[in-house]
């Protein structure tokens, strides 16, 4: 799974990186973003809804920072 390190990026950079990385993932595959930015918790699901992708959920990266996973649908 491709994991984007957006730990130190302010809002909305994690979402911008997510959008830029999406084409590099095959349809059906997973893509994750690790971000300290508190807005990412709301904005990754909102991005999925607006862009027609699937929000898989939130877990923790190795360093215990939030990791948000997305499945490419289109």
């Amino acid at each position: 799974m491709l994991e984007l390190d957006c730990r130190d990026f302010p809002c909305p950079r994690p979402i911008i990186e997510l959008a830029k990385a999406l084409p590099s993932v095959a349809v059906g595959d997973l893509l994750a973003v690790v971000a300290r930015d508190p807005a990412a918790r709301y904005d990754v699901p909102a991005w999925c809804r607006m862009r027609g992708q699937e929000y898989v959920g939130e877990d923790l990266a190795d360093d215990n920072l939030p990791r948000y996973t997305v499945r490419r649908l289109t």
Binding site: C11, P12, I15, A19, D43, A46, W47, R49, M50, R51
Partner: protein, 366 residues
């Protein structure tokens, strides 16, 4: 072009005239029995009577506070204190003053009631949450300050022992107010009165005690009253309500144009109820755009707007309102019209908005 009337309105001409006159006459202590004291008492009573009439209340139900926030704190905590219980039940998108008052007096009976995608509170959940043991008071706003959604306040079903506080700060002067309230709060600078005047109205027969140090009763809530400002606030309210329907109808249509323009932008969602909403306010969020970036860019183009995004000024947390509604929290813009905003201005703003969003996305490489 000022498009942030929902944060604070410029002083209404009626308020300015009244304020200047009242500054001359209203300097005395309204509790004293000498001439200047009686003058100040007369002006204060006049302000109270006008505000009461405008809000559908009796004069003795009206108190002046230091701000809308102060009114909410005193109202909510004072209603709770009078019941002897501690639980506060509130909508998830209430103003931060409600959330702060709730956090300030922790209770296992507190509950935040979720809202739907349009920001409308779930009435059944609110009713169920209010029936739990230990609940003292419920709070539901008349309209939301960020997204404009009106709450179905008159349909709220609460136990007789749980009073309802309605925060009407965003609604007063713009829409017909709910009838169903035990306490109601508002803020004068939101309708064109001076800053530093909040309203706390408590219905006769509703038990309320001052939750803070000092005398009980609404007459002296917060110490020496600002008599000239209270009277100016009353004058502004009266003037605003006299033209409310006509202004609101015009603003509703202009906001409709902005909503259409925003929907027409790529990857942009308009947030809030499209119909049951404040007439003068609209909020939308644009993907890949920083709230601070777009506010600054629009300011450079001459447009003053607000944003609920995390990256703007006061906070690193995104708006709890947008978060609770499941809306996109970044790239957020709140536009709120003045009574004098014209269609031509709205059209120019819509054109500038499209340019601004395109320019910011181009800089981000999108």
């Amino acid at each position: 072009m000022y498009l942030d009337a929902a944060s604070s309105q410029r002083l209404h001409p009626a308020a300015r005239d009244t304020l200047l006159a009242a500054l001359e006459r209203g300097y005395g202590d309204p509790r004293r029995l000498h001439g200047p004291g009686r003058d100040a008492r007369l002006l204060l009573d006049n302000a109270r009577a006008v505000v009461a009439d405008c809000l559908g209340a009796h004069p003795d139900e009206i108190g002046f506070t230091a701000s809308g926030t102060d009114a909410v704190h005193r109202g909510l905590l004072g209603l709770a204190a009078a019941t002897g219980r501690t639980g506060i039940v509130h909508g998830a998108i209430e103003h931060s003053s409600v959330l702060h008052a709730t956090e300030w007096r922790p209770s296992p009976a507190h509950a935040s009631v979720p809202v739907d995608r349009n920001g409308r509170v779930d009435l059944d959940t609110l009713a169920a949450a209010s029936r739990r043991e230990g609940v003292a008071v419920a709070a539901l706003q008349a309209a939301n300050q960020e997204v404009g959604t009106l709450q179905p306040v008159d349909e709220v079903d609460l136990p007789a022992t749980v009073p309802l506080l309605v925060d009407a700060a965003a609604a007063v002067g713009h829409v017909v107010l709910p009838q169903r309230w035990d306490a109601l709060t508002a803020s004068a600078h939101k309708w064109g009165g001076p800053a530093g005047v909040g309203i706390l109205a408590v219905r006769r027969g509703t038990r309320w005690t001052n939750p803070f140090p000092g005398e009980d009763g609404l007459d002296n809530a917060g110490g020496f009253p600002n008599v000239p400002a209270a009277l100016a606030a009353a004058a502004a309210l009266q003037a605003v309500l006299a033209e409310r329907e006509e202004v609101a109808a015009r603003q509703f249509q202009m906001v409709e144009r902005i909503r259409e323009a925003a929907v027409g932008l790529p990857d942009t969602e308009v947030v809030g109820d499209p119909v049951h909403r404040l007439p003068h306010l609209v909020t939308f969020s644009c993907l890949y755009v920083g709230g601070d970036e777009i506010v600054s860019d629009l300011a450079q183009r001459g447009y003053g707007v607000a944003s609920g995004s995390a990256c703007t000024a006061s906070t690193l947390e995104p708006s709890h309102v947008l978060a609770a509604m499941g809306a996109l929290t970044h790239g957020n813009v709140r536009v709120s019209l003045e009574s004098g905003t014209t269609e031509d201005q709205v059209d120019r703003f819509c054109a500038a908005l499209a340019e601004s969003v395109t320019a910011i996305r181009a800089r981000a490489g999108l």
